[in-house]
């Protein structure tokens, strides 16, 4: 059984069919790229996969269970996490707290136990604190733990958002243009990070990106969207040489 199974997914905004009959299966541990011209509907696909938009048609299954109609936070529990094209951190909170909020599913103490500081509170908080710090270390961000998220440099903010998504323990991670606004060197580092994540956490990744260096460099499969429709699927090599993709997207 595939990890993620999307069948005939469509959404309509007024007269505009932003995504049209989208089909995709992703297996565990896969790294798949989703590319296409601006406005092709990539982010919209993410929004449907994570419950932000309700699709007009089609079905989405994670581990065989349909998630259509579920709330975003329920979908997170089913194992899908994401980042946003425009970074959405908890800006005024510390880097560590950003992670802790996403990590809250690992804490079990009740409101009552929390308020009156009963033993389980201390135990849970202690493990959470240590685990989240360890988590930040994986991303080389341990030093920033107590800094307000909004004061991080741009690249670090992107990284934090990825780390935060990972803290929810997803089976599949969806990244929306993680390299936007990064210079080639930083992008290169990001590539390493993404691969590291995939291996270390053993999850599947679905990635939207316009930086072909990154996409072609790490994706195993690529899906190309144009005007809401899939126009090509295949390996990076196939995609790079697909005349349709060259015409509407890659150029040259």
């Amino acid at each position: 059984m595939a990890l993620l199974e999307v069948t005939d997914l469509s959404i309509q905004f007024g007269g505009l069919k932003a995504v049209d009959n989208f089909n995709l299966t992703i297996d565990e541990h896969e790294l798949v790229g989703l590319i296409g011209p601006n406005g092709a509907g990539k982010t919209t696909v993410f929004n449907m996969l994570t419950g932000v938009y309700l699709p007009t048609e089609g079905d989405i299954k994670i581990d065989g269970e349909s998630i259509v109609g579920k709330k975003p936070y329920e979908i997170v529990r089913c194992g899908a996490a994401r980042t946003f094209q425009n970074i959405r951190l908890f800006k005024d909170l510390s880097v560590l707290d950003n992670i802790k909020i996403a990590y809250h599913h690992e804490l079990n103490y009740s409101t009552f136990e929390g308020i009156f500081r009963l033993p389980r509170y201390w135990k849970d908080e202690k493990t959470a604190h240590e685990n989240c710090l360890a988590f930040l270390d994986i991303f080389d961000m341990g030093d920033y733990a107590s800094i307000q998220a909004k004061n991080l440099p741009y690249g670090k903010q992107r990284k934090l958002e990825i780390a935060r998504a990972l803290a929810t323990k997803p089976k599949i991670l969806m990244l929306d243009e993680p390299a936007a606004g990064m210079n080639p060197k930083e992008t290169h580092e990001l590539m390493d990070t993404i691969q590291l994540i995939r291996d270390k956490f053993d999850i599947a990744i679905l990635l939207i990106e316009h930086d072909m260096h990154l996409v072609m460099g790490i994706c195993e499969r690529i899906v190309v969207l144009d005007y809401g429709k899939i126009i090509a699927k295949g390996t990076p090599e196939e995609t790079r040489n697909n005349p349709d993709v060259i015409k509407v997207y890659l150029g040259e």
């Binding site: 982010t43 929004n47 932000v52 938009y53 946003f84 094209q85 425009n86 959405r88």
Partner: protein, 292 residues
């Protein structure tokens, strides 16, 4: 039936005043997203300006109106400059608190100057009811009704079609980006306050003629109701303000006349709550989901 129609006219009369005041609210809210709690007090000030000029001179009604509107516009711009401008980049709720502060201040200033006793507004418009069949409609009501609709149309065109109007909308969305277009943001906001305040004064003068009195706290309730009207119609939307005003006026009248006079406020607010729950952006507002 006649009774019912007469009640509808009563509703129109109340509603058209709310509509006028709500226009000012919506203008200011639309541009700087500030619930201008002091709007009711600007309205009160407008009424006092008219009162003062009317008892000291013999100016005809339209001139009294214009005078009061200009004075209120100046007052509005002044309060904006003193109390809101320094808070442009502060959290929105802080500006809300200064607005409340300004509202208290103007009220208490009026109390100190004029005392709490209501002043009697001279009858600037001859209050002769015009009869249409068995129905009677007051001249003040008619004036208010006509003015509220005229101003709605003018303002709507102004904001949608003219350059300064578009500048206002740009400022409302993103002040920095608006500056980069060459828009003078400070002036635009000033103008918005001026227009909003002038409309508030207009409402205030007509209100005080209708209800014969001018007093320091006169702005509180109509201010609140007009605000509710603006929200009900879809805040930031000019036709929404007017529609909301009329709807509130009608509901109030109908509930006073046919349901229960003591529950009328509860009915108005209750209905507002219900409408917002089903249509969170008000009657004319569009439901737009935030794109992420």
């Amino acid at each position: 039936m006649i009774l019912f129609l007469q009640q509808m006219i009563n509703g129109l009369s109340v509603g058209s005043i709310y509509a006028l005041i709500a226009l000012g609210y919506t203008m200011v809210y639309g541009i700087i997203k500030l619930i201008n709690f002091a709007h009711g007090e600007i309205m009160m000030a407008g009424a006092y300006f008219a009162f003062l000029i009317a008892i000291t001179t013999n100016l005809p009604f339209p001139l009294v109106l214009v005078f009061s509107m200009i004075m209120a516009a100046i007052l509005g711009m002044f309060t904006e400059y003193i109390a809101y401008k320094p808070l442009r980049n502060a959290p929105r709720i802080s500006a809300l608190i200064t607005a409340i502060g300004v509202s208290f201040f103007l009220q208490n200033l009026a109390l100190v100057i004029f005392k709490a006793n209501p002043k009697i507004m001279p009858e600037l418009i001859v209050k002769k009811p015009i009869s249409i069949g068995a129905l009677k409609i007051g001249t003040v009501t008619l004036t208010t009704l006509v003015l509220s609709i005229i101003f709605m149309i003018i303002l709507d065109i102004f904001v949608k079609k003219t350059k300064p109007g578009k500048a206002m909308r740009a400022v409302s969305e993103d002040k920095e980006a608006a500056m980069l277009m060459g828009i003078n943001v400070d002036r635009t906001i000033s103008i918005t306050f001026a227009i909003g305040s002038a409309l508030g004064a207009l409402g205030g003068v007509l209100y005080s003629i209708t209800y014969t009195q001018v007093f320091p706290t006169m702005g509180v309730m109509p201010g609140l109701k007009a605000f509710v009207a603006a929200v009900l119609g879809g805040i930031g939307l000019i036709p929404g303000a007017v529609l909301g005003g009329f709807v509130i006026g009608m509901i109030e009248t109908v509930s006073k006349a046919y349901i229960s006079s003591q529950w009328s406020d509860a009915i108005v607010f209750g209905l507002l709550i219900i409408v917002l729950l089903f249509k969170p952006t008000g009657i004319l507002g569009k439901n737009e989901k935030e794109k992420v």
